[in-house]
C-alpha cells in the first residue's frame, strides 16, 4: 500500500474522531478504553507514514482498522444511545461463561431489518493488540464484544431474544468449541455406527455425500459450511439455556421456517427440532456430543440458566418485580408466552373495554419487559450504596 493511501485512511479516522472524541459513556471501562484510543490516535498523528516500509504500513493499517471498528460500536454505546437494559441482561449471561471483568458488550445499531450479528474482530485478532502495544505502548484491560442489532428494534425485547444467540457466537469462538465438535463428528462418521450416523445425517444431511466428508476432513476452516452449521447449532443451544424456545419463534418468522440449509445456516426446521429435543430432554448422539464437549472445554454444563417465576403481572399491566439475576432471562420467555397466548386474559384482568390491537399488546409487553429489567437495575444500584 502506498503511504498516501494510509494517510487517506488516517484522515478518515481523524474526521471521525472530531465528533467521537466527545463521546460520553455510562461505564468507566468504556472511558478507559476511549482514552487508550486517544493515545493511539495521537501516536499515529506523530508518525511520518512516507518513511514506513510495507510491513510497517500494514501494521498501521490494522491499528487504524482497530480504532475505527472500536468507534463504530462505542459511538452507539454512549450514555444517550445504549439499549442498556438489554446489554445488562446479556452481561449477566456473559459473566457466567467468562467471569473475569475483561470484556465489555457494545452495540452497533444498524439500519437493516433483522440485521443481528456478532462481530469478533476486536475480541479475537490478538496480533492487532501486539502491534498496538509495540508501537504505542498501549495495552487494553478490556476487549469489546461487538453485537449488531437493528436500530428500529433496539427496544423490542421479543425480537432481541436473538441477541443471546449472537452472544453464543462470542462464547463459541472464545472457547473454540466448533473446532472440537467438528473433529468429533467427522471421527464419528469414520466409526460408522448406524445410530450415530443416522443422527448426524438428520442435522447435517449433506454429510451423506462422501465427497463432502472428504472435503471437510482435508481442511477445517472457520468459514466452511460444516463449521458454520455446527456453530449455529451451538449458538441456538446456548441461547435456549436462557430463553428456552423463544428464539425459535423469531427464527420462524424471519426465515419462514426454511426447510433447506444455506451455506451459512442449517435449515430452520432442523434448528427448531434440535432445540426442542434439548428442551424436552430428548436428543441423540449429536446433542449429547454438544453437551459433552461444551462441558469438557468450558467446565460449564449445558442447562437452563434462567429461573422460572409464576406471575400474571403483565396481564395486570404492571412490571414484574425481579428478585435475582437469573429471573431476568425468564422475562423474555414470559413476554413471548403472553404474546402467543390469549390476549383476552389481559383484557379481562385489566378490565379493558375496547379491542386490544396487535400494536397495543406489542407495546405493553415490550414496555413491561423493559421496565422490569430497568427497575431491577435501579434497585440494585440504589441498594449497593449505603449512605
Amino acid at each position: 500500500m502506498q503511504p498516501k493511501l494510509l494517510e487517506l485512511h488516517f484522515s478518515q479516522l481523524q474526521t471521525e474522531w472530531v465528533t467521537s472524541k466527545y463521546n460520553n459513556y455510562s461505564d468507566d471501562r468504556k472511558n478507559i478504553y476511549h482514552e487508550k484510543l486517544a493515545t493511539i490516535i495521537e501516536g499515529l498523528g506523530k508518525e511520518d507514514f512516507a518513511s514506513l516500509d510495507d510491513s510497517q504500513i500494514q501494521e498501521r493499517y490494522w491499528v487504524i482498522f482497530f480504532v475505527f471498528k472500536s468507534l463504530e460500536f462505542l459511538n452507539h454505546s454512549t450514555r444517550s444511545t445504549i439499549p442498556f437494559e438489554m446489554v445488562y441482561v446479556l452481561e449477566v449471561a456473559l459473566k457466567e461463561w467468562s467471569p473475569g471483568d475483561d470484556y465489555i458488550i457494545v452495540t452497533s445499531l444498524t439500519n437493516g431489518m433483522n440485521e443481528f450479528s456478532f462481530d469478533g474482530s476486536l475480541s479475537f485478532y490478538p496480533f492487532i493488540y501486539t502491534y498496538i502495544e509495540n508501537l504505542y505502548s498501549v495495552s487494553f484491560d478490556y476487549k469489546l464484544v461487538q453485537i449488531n442489532l437493528p436500530e428500529s428494534t433496539s427496544r423490542d425485547y421479543l425480537a432481541n431474544v436473538v441477541l443471546y444467540h449472537e452472544l453464543g457466537h462470542f462464547i463459541e469462538k472464545k472457547f473454540a468449541i466448533t473446532r472440537v465438535i467438528y473433529a468429533e463428528l467427522l471421527a464419528a462418521i469414520r466409526r460408522a455406527d448406524p445410530a450415530e450416523l443416522n443422527n448426524i445425517y438428520r442435522y447435517f444431511p449433506y454429510l451423506r455425500l462422501p465427497a463432502k466428508v472428504d472435503e471437510f476432513e482435508k481442511r477445517y476452516e472457520e468459514y466452511n459450511q460444516l463449521s458454520m452449521h455446527i456453530s449455529e447449532y451451538f449458538c441456538d443451544l446456548f441461547a435456549s439455556q436462557y430463553i428456552k424456545d423463544c428464539s425459535n419463534f423469531y427464527l420462524e418468522y424471519v426465515t419462514l421456517n426454511q426447510a433447506v440449509e444455506s451455506t451459512t445456516h442449517p435449515s430452520t426446521i432442523n434448528r427448531i427440532i434440535f432445540i426442542n429435543e434439548y428442551l424436552d430432554n430428548k436428543g441423540g448422539f449429536v446433542l449429547s456430543e454438544y453437551k459433552r464437549i461444551v462441558e469438557r472445554i468450558t467446565g460449564i454444563e449445558i442447562g437452563y440458566k434462567g429461573k422460572d417465576f409464576s406471575t400474571a403481572n403483565f396481564e395486570s399491566l404492571i412490571p414484574v418485580e425481579v428478585k435475582e439475576l437469573s429471573e431476568l432471562h425468564g422475562l423474555f420467555h414470559y413476554g413471548w408466552k403472553v404474546w402467543l397466548g390469549e390476549w383476552e386474559n389481559i383484557r379481562q384482568k385489566a378490565e379493558i373495554q375496547f379491542t386490544l390491537s396487535n400494536a397495543d399488546v406489542y407495546a405493553i409487553i415490550n414496555n413491561l419487559i423493559e421496565k422490569s429489567i430497568g427497575n431491577f437495575i435501579v434497585k440494585n444500584e440504589w441498594e449497593l450504596i449505603k449512605v
Binding site: 455510562s26 450514555r79 418485580e321 375496547f354 427497575n375 440504589w382
Partner: protein, 202 residues
C-alpha cells in the same frame, strides 16, 4: 378527599396501588408521595419543521416527532435543562392507580424555586410511568439528576370508581416519554372537516 400516609400505605399493602420501584419508603410523606426523575427524555429541538402543528390541516407535512430528539441517562447521571426548553420526561416509578383515586402532580418546592414548573392531573386507574412535561422558565440552565425526587403527587379519592380503560387510551403502560398524539384527538377530525368544507370547493 386527600389521602394521607396511612391511606397510601394501606393501598400499597392491599396491592391496589402499585409504585415500582419504591426505592425509599420515606418517599411516602404525610400527604403526598415524592416521585423521581426517570431515565428517558424527549427534548424539543429546532428541526426542519417550521412549527409544531397541533392540527390535521398540515399534519402529514410536519410530523411532531421531527421536533423532538430522544436521549437517555442512567441513575445518578445528570440532564442539563436549558432555559425555555420543553422536555418530555417520565417518572422513574411505574404506577398503577386504584379506580377511585386520581393524582395531582406538581414539582417539589425545591425545584419550583429553580424555575421548573409542572402541573398535571393523572386519572383514576392510570397505569404507566407518569409523563411529565417540564419547562425551565429560569434564565440559566439547570442540571437535573436522574433518580432525584423532583415532583410530588397528592392522591385524591373520588366518590365513585371509574374504569380508565372504558375507552381506548392514547398512552398505555408507557415507560418513557412519548411524542404527543394530539393529532389523534377525536375532535380534530371534526374540526379538520369544517376547515376542509370552508376552504376546499369540490
Amino acid at each position: 378527599m386527600n389521602l394521607v400516609k396511612a391511606d397510601i400505605d394501606q393501598l400499597i399493602q392491599q396491592g391496589k396501588l402499585t409504585i415500582s420501584p419504591l426505592l425509599d419508603p420515606k418517599q411516602v410523606g404525610d400527604m403526598a408521595i415524592d416521585f423521581r426523575l426517570g431515565t428517558d427524555f424527549l427534548v424539543a429541538i429546532d428541526g426542519s419543521n417550521p412549527f409544531i402543528d397541533a392540527s390535521l390541516n398540515n399534519n402529514d407535512k410536519f410530523p411532531i416527532k421531527n421536533s423532538f430528539q430522544e436521549t437517555r441517562r442512567k441513575l445518578g447521571e445528570t440532564f442539563l435543562f436549558h432555559p425555555h426548553q420543553t422536555v418530555l420526561a417520565s417518572s422513574l416509578e411505574y404506577v398503577k392507580l386504584p379506580r377511585d383515586v386520581y393524582v395531582e402532580l406538581t414539582m417539589r418546592s425545591s425545584y419550583l424555586r429553580l424555575g421548573l414548573s409542572l402541573a398535571s392531573i393523572v386519572q383514576p386507574g392510570y397505569c404507566g410511568c407518569f409523563s411529565i412535561e417540564l419547562t425551565n422558565v429560569n434564565k440559566i440552565p439547570v442540571n437535573l439528576t436522574v433518580g432525584a425526587a423532583i415532583m410530588q403527587a397528592r392522591l385524591f379519592k373520588i366518590s365513585a370508581e371509574s374504569n380508565y380503560f372504558a375507552k381506548r387510551r392514547k398512552y398505555m403502560c408507557q415507560v418513557r416519554p412519548l411524542i404527543s398524539a394530539v393529532a389523534t384527538d377525536g375532535d380534530f377530525i371534526h374540526l379538520h372537516e369544517i376547515w376542509k368544507r370552508n376552504n376546499y370547493h369540490t
